[in-house]
């Protein structure tokens, strides 16, 4: 879709917290099957993601997380059942969806600076022609600050470490100012500091009213912080609030090995950041 949706671009900088979940869900799946023409990877998936909610997909490599995410963003067609994104079939709301894939094809040849990569996050709003303005530059700068890569902006992407590149990709996603963020293993390669910045950024996105879908195999980090968690192992093992879903039995079924899950799971939902405390284990229980 080349027509920009200006109304979707504007950041709702009022800190009103997440929108009430009575609204139409951003993503709704009913009996959805995902996979490829010759092979269904995960059958019969049903869930809803209301505006302003974080949703975690947990599973091993090959469990179908990436396939589900690619179906949601419109890279793969649904193989059965129903899927609507913003009330439409997937692949129709480019300006409202930001996607961070797991693999980046841009090898080390691509001559791009960090700032160029982050600025690409603004392209979906403007199509081929429309000018990217000063306000976009501010958004880009703010995304760069959020991920703590201000000093790297003029560096070539290829000279960065894996973790710095991942911060750059995350900044690109943030610069999009999307209503739905779809992140496939976003913490790959991040150091402790990067993880902290990332968790803060996701919190801010949720506060802004955006929904976030995160695929991860890290049950102790962001997964436990989402409102809903889905365990995937080529089928839906369970779905619900993290404290109900992340049980030793379910984890055994998902990962095939006994995982010592942290029993004190907490819910991550637009934490006010007037305190200087970090996230992680200190997030207060709702």
């Amino acid at each position: 879709m080349l027509n920009p949706r200006k109304d979707a671009v504007l950041p709702s900088d009022g800190a009103d917290g997440p929108a009430p979940s009575t609204e139409t869900p951003y993503v709704r799946a009913k009996g959805l099957s995902v996979g490829y023409t010759n092979e269904i990877i995960v059958p019969d998936i049903s869930f809803e993601i209301p505006p302003g909610e974080a949703f975690a997909l947990i599973g091993t490599n090959g469990s179908g997380k990436s396939t589900l995410l690619k179906t949601i963003v419109g890279l793969l067609p649904p193989m059965g059942g129903q899927l609507s994104v913003f009330g439409m079939p997937p692949g129709n709301n480019h300006a409202r969806i930001a996607y961070l894939g797991q693999f980046h094809h841009s090898g080390f040849v691509l001559p791009l600076r960090v700032i160029d990569v982050v600025r690409m996050g603004r392209f979906p709003h403007y199509g081929l022609w429309q000018r990217i303005g000063r306000r976009d530059d501010e958004i880009v700068r703010s995304a760069v600050r959020t991920m703590g890569i201000e000093k790297l902006v003029d560096m070539p992407l290829r000279s960065l470490s894996g973790g710095q590149q991942q911060r750059t990709y995350l900044a690109q996603v943030l610069a999009h100012q999307a209503d739905l963020l779809v992140l496939d293993e976003p913490t790959t390669g991040l150091d402790a500091g990067g993880r902290e910045l990332y968790l803060r950024a996701i919190n801010d996105e949720v506060c802004r009213g955006a929904s976030v879908i995160i695929a991860t195999h890290n049950i102790h980090d962001e997964a436990a912080l989402c409102r809903q968690v889905m365990l995937l192992a080529r089928k839906v093992v369970s779905l619900g609030a993290p404290e109900q879903v992340i049980t030793p039995e379910a984890l055994l079924e998902t990962f095939g090995i006994a995982v010592t899950g942290d029993k004190s799971v907490q819910v991550f939902e637009c934490q006010r950041r007037d305190d200087t405390q970090g996230f992680g284990p200190n997030i207060p229980r709702r």
Binding site: M1, L2, K70, V73, G74, L75, H94, A95, I97, A98, Y99, G101, H104, H105, S106, V109, L110, P111, L112, R113, D116, V117, M120, F123, P124, Y126, G127, L128, P156
Partner: protein
């Protein structure tokens, strides 16, 4: 100074060759940049040889070589698309098959001509010193079209080079813009073959852009370096050819390759030096 200017000041054909060379260098800089960024080197090479039978037929039947080359390129792209879509073979296999097939078809057709080796040499190695004003006008038009495509498609081409999935999710259909890019590369090959020939045009596509990739931190800069290296190669290749009586196309391509290796060595030395100076800090 005389040595550098006189050949062009006293010979009209040298000026025409240089003008054609500059236009082709700009087109090749733009197309070559995306060939390198998108890893399309093999398809670029295949296109350069795939145009051969078209040119050969045009030569025998007496119509424009550029039209023949365009038909050859269309058959080549169509064939690759057909094989990759209708079979499980990867595009490398399809490209390789058609590449060799078209090349031998071209040589077979040319062998019917009375002046076999002369014609073949002209097609394979170009005839930059015999370029007509009409060809230059066509090259100018094509170069403008290529520049227009690169400007209009700047965002999708950038996203495509970064990650095709990102392009798709951002609302720029990856397959559409990939095909636009192939079209742009095909036009470049079609209008460039007269200057350095179908065998060597690939060098002009990848060597200047490759050297640019080593130096540049931005895509625009990479294109600018590529155009600069290409134009310099044209000029110095023509001069070398004039003074030492060497084949012009080959002399030009040799200069591009030499430039690439000079840039490569300088970059490596620079990187080694920065690595050495940074080491004590890490220790």
């Amino acid at each position: 100074m005389d040595w550098l200017v006189t050949p062009f000041a006293t010979n009209g054909f040298m000026v025409q060759a240089l003008v054609a060379g500059v236009l082709v260098s700009i087109a090749c800089a733009i197309a070559g940049t995306f060939i390198i960024l998108r890893g399309l080197a093999f398809i670029g090479d295949a296109l350069a040889h795939g145009v051969l039978p078209g040119i050969a037929v045009a030569m025998l039947a007496g119509f424009s070589g550029i039209l023949g080359a365009a038909i050859g390129a269309a058959v080549m792209i169509g064939g690759i698309t057909l094989i990759t879509q209708r079979s499980r073979l990867s595009s490398d296999t399809a490209i390789g098959l058609l590449f060799v097939g078209m090349l031998s078809l071209g040589v077979a057709i040319v062998s019917r001509s009375n002046s076999f080796s002369g014609d073949l040499t002209r097609i394979l190695f170009g005839e930059i010193l015999g370029i007509s004003v009409q060809s230059i006008i066509i090259q100018l038009a094509a170069t403008l079209v290529i520049m227009a495509i690169a400007i209009i498609c700047a965002r999708p081409f950038l996203l495509l080079s970064f990650d095709p999935e990102q392009a798709e999710v951002a609302g720029f259909p990856a397959r559409l813009y990939h095909n636009v890019m192939l079209f742009m590369i095909a036009i470049t090959v079609i209008v460039s073959f007269q200057t350095v020939g179908t065998l060597l045009v690939f060098g002009l596509l990848v060597a200047p852009a490759g050297a640019g990739a080593l130096l540049a931190h931005r895509i625009e800069a990479m294109m600018a370096w590529a155009a600069l290296f290409g134009i310099f190669s044209m000029y110095s290749g023509l001069l070398i050819s004039y003074h030492f009586d060497l084949a012009a196309g080959a002399a030009i391509i040799l200069v591009t390759i030499v430039i690439f290796f000079i840039v490569f060595v300088i970059q490596n030395l620079r990187q080694r030096r920065t690595a050495l100076t940074e080491e004590p800090n890490h220790a």
